[in-house]
């Protein structure tokens, strides 16, 4: 079989789509984080706009609903002066039976410059990137269980902001790893940026042993997983895990894998607690921890805008 070129990069190795963190060199991740840093100040200005994407059309294609993520992309695009078109495809074309590629062809004909795609199927943004017009850039805003690269990058920005460097860190990711695109993107990003110890913590139904091949240490015991960690990333637990025979109840999950002050005390004294949101208080995280001094959950949201601005501006500057 031929080794195919990473579809995210052009022949010069520049980023033309952001589909996954996997396969991106450290230099590109660092470039995105550094660029995000320069945009952070824009968000503090009275006039929160820069003209980098003036005249460009960014289409938010959400085949799966997510008001939060869509809003952050919309804000980021608007602060770059782009025209933003929000399409809630879950409610329009797809329900009329139009195929994914027909939808993309139609929107391409409307002279889109960038597609921000959220889809329930792993890999859908790859299909779109393969079939859209060459000048169109695709940003994966979450595909199935596969990837959520901008979330991964904003998590990296947050870690770098508070920890300064990645080189001596222990990062614990706790919860429903098997269904989490955030966890996969975090694992790839942390690995690429040189974090020496990444732990995946949760029960065997949610943390498969195959994860070891992604370079993580699998822990089924919460206390062992959190011990001496510099960063604890909690994942949201979906209610449907209880009906799929993966867990008996939210209560029992909280007892074994919920992040409480007692458990957090096992981590490093200066540990930070992160969560991609929205949080389930009392299911994966205790309110005292979510609102406590170790929590950086709200800064994550702020950094998220700057990171998405960075991604879009870098993509717009690179040609296929």
């Amino acid at each position: 079989m031929l080794a195919r070129r990473n579809p995210q990069l052009n022949a010069h190795g520049e980023l033309i789509h952001l589909l996954s963190i996997e396969g991106l060199p450290r230099a590109i991740l660092t470039q995105i984080l550094d660029t995000a840093g320069t945009f952070l100040s824009v968000n503090d200005r009275d006039v929160k706009k820069v003209p980098l994407l003036r005249g460009k059309s960014v289409f938010n294609l959400f085949f799966e609903n997510s008001t939060r993520t869509r809003t952050t992309f919309e804000i980021a695009a608007k602060r770059l002066s782009a025209d933003v078109i929000n399409l809630d495809i879950a409610k329009s074309s797809a329900s009329k039976g139009e195929s994914l590629l027909d939808t993309i062809a139609n929107l391409s004909a409307m002279h889109a410059d960038m597609f921000v795609v959220r889809h329930s199927e792993s890999g859908a943004p790859y299909l779109i990137a393969r079939h859209c017009a060459p000048h169109v850039h695709v940003v994966n805003a979450g595909d199935g269980r596969h990837a959520h690269p901008t979330q991964g990058l904003l998590d990296m920005y947050t870690i770098r902001h508070f920890k300064k460097s990645f080189h001596n860190l222990t990062v614990a990711i706790v919860g429903d790893i098997v269904h989490s695109r955030v966890a996969r993107s975090d694992i790839h990003a942390l690995t690429t940026l040189g974090v020496p110890e990444i732990r995946a913590v949760g029960p065997k139904t949610l943390v498969p042993g195959d994860l070891r091949e992604m370079g993580v240490r699998v822990c089924h015991d919460m206390r062992e997983g959190v011990k001496d960690a510099d960063v604890v990333i909690m994942l949201r637990l979906q209610n449907e895990r209880m009906s799929g025979a993966m867990l008996p109840s939210a209560g029992e999950y909280f007892k074994s894998y919920g992040l409480t002050e007692d458990v957090l005390a096992l981590a490093r004294p200066d540990a930070i607690v992160m969560h991609p949101g929205p949080i389930n208080r009392g299911v994966e995280i205790d309110s005292h921890v979510a609102d406590g001094s170790h929590s950086v959950i709200l800064p994550q949201v702020t950094f998220g805008i700057a990171v998405r601005m960075a991604v879009m501006s870098i993509l717009a500057g690179n040609d296929a």
Partner: protein, 442 residues
């Protein structure tokens, strides 16, 4: 018509014959191999210089898409172009082959096209719903060579046991794809690749649990069972032990599982969306070894034409399956070559091996199909073993254009090219015009 195939290298896996010889054909049968009678006056002569003259291929799994619509012509043309002279079609046509009239019609239409012999499997249960048995005697009289659920589950083990008991009462074989229904909901094989790509997995246990159940029921009922499309090392091992125990089972593997692994999914290439899913390297190695040592009796194309609308979708939404009839010979030769087997050994798994699986269901044809014998049917594949080619979808005759071996995505080099295919002594396919007789004899 009298045909003479001259100057070829005759390879017959069943007898072990591998020598330069002429083959004379008359009235649909092979009249001589080697010493052609002096008074034999062919109407056509095929110059097989540099080519192998082999038995026509027998493919135990090729879907023809619809039982009713016009797809039959293209798919049987694809078979002929692939050197396949007999194929077994699973019953999951639309509608499923659960009554004799449908089987009659399918066989009648295939005969009229005279490209390839078609042997349907009857549905084991009505509408393949897995609940009520079909009329197996009538279906067999209509031409079914065995009974199968294709990819559909049987309701429960009691129904499966009864179906096997009933089939064995009449000496019919049951063809089963070992897959536990509740464990088979995923879209890729469980493992590091599926985990990394965020694709739902099908564990090896889906195959081994089903195999253990089937083998236990074979022990109970004595039913002759053919196990379709093994995909795992553990599955091969279970079949190896079952055969050592003397159970009446046979097995096949698809060209896809024989050559590919889940790593080939790459960046969500939906041409790799297959059932059973592609598994890991150790599984592929075990399948290759099992096919070489005879644990697995036959290599099949698992030909499944899937249109663009059903393939150009996100990986998990794409319809599983790949075109394969025109690739079977080359992928058999490729495996043989890579496994350091002789051409005869490689061809055995697509000729004499599958005929042994079919056994008595072939009737008198069983004496000579998949073999080259004087007096036997002239189902013959003439191919150039040195020719290399690459798969380009537009050049395929099948309606199915999607294959993991597409040159554009895989770059796979295919060894061996079919030059002529004869079915019952008639040319069903020729890559080049055949010279008329008179000029040749001089």
């Amino acid at each position: 018509m009298k045909i003479l195939i001259r100057n070829g290298r005759v390879v017959d896996p069943a007898s072990g014959r591998d020598e330069a010889a002429d083959v004379a054909i008359a009235a649909g049968r092979i009249v001589a191999i080697g010493q052609v009678p002096a008074d034999f006056t062919p109407e056509r002569t095929i110059d097989a210089d540099g080519c192998v003259v082999a038995p026509g291929l027998v493919d135990l799994a090729a879907r023809l898409k619809e039982a009713g619509a016009g797809a039959l012509e293209s798919e049987l043309a694809a078979a002929a172009a692939g050197g396949v002279t007999s194929l077994v079609c699973p019953p999951d046509t639309d509608p499923p082959l659960d009554e004799p009239g449908l089987v009659d019609m399918l066989k009648f239409r295939a005969r009229k096209l005279s490209r390839c012999r078609l042997f349907p499997l009857g549905a084991l249960t009505q509408r393949l719903a897995g609940v009520e048995l079909t009329e197996m005697i009538d279906l067999t009289e209509a031409g079914c060579v065995g009974f199968s659920q294709a990819e559909r589950p049987v309701k429960d083990n009691l129904t499966l046991m009864r179906a096997m008991q009933y089939a064995s009462t009449h000496g019919y074989a049951v063809w089963l794809r070992p897959q536990d229904a509740s464990l088979s909901g995923g879209v890729a094989a469980s493992g590091a690749v599926a985990t990394r790509l965020g694709l739902s997995g099908v564990p090896v246990a889906a195959e081994t649990i089903a195999l253990n159940t089937i083998l236990e029921l074979v022990r109970q009922t004595g039913t002759r069972v053919h196990l379709c499309r093994l995909s795992s090392a553990a599955g091969v091992e279970l079949v190896r032990r079952a055969k050592a125990e003397g159970l009446p089972v046979t097995a096949d593997v698809s060209i896809n599982s024989l050559h590919l692994t889940d790593v080939d999914i790459g960046y969500f290439n939906s041409d790799m969306r297959l059932t059973p899913p592609l598994r890991q390297g150790k599984d592929r190695d075990a399948l290759r070894a099992g096919l070489a040592d005879g644990t697995i009796d036959a290599l099949v194309s698992d030909h499944t034409p899937v249109g663009d609308d059903d393939k150009m979708l996100p990986f998990g939404e794409a319809v599983p399956g790949a075109t394969g009839l025109e690739l079977l010979l080359s992928l058999a030769l490729k495996w043989g070559d890579e496994s350091k087997l002789s051409v005869a050994q490689a061809l055995a798994r697509v000729t004499s091996g599958p005929v042994r699986v079919l056994g008595e269901a072939l009737g008198s044809l069983g004496q000579s199909a998949g073999r080259l014998v004087e007096g036997g049917v002239a189902d013959i594949c003439v191919f150039d073993p040195e020719a290399q080619w690459q798969v380009t979808p537009e050049a395929l005759r099948s309606h199915g254009k999607h294959t993991p071996f597409d040159a554009a995505s895989s770059g796979t080099r295919m060894p061996g090219r079919v030059r002529h295919t004869l079915v019952a002594g008639t040319l069903a396919y020729s890559a080049e015009p055949v010279r008329s007789a008179g000029a040749n004899i001089a």
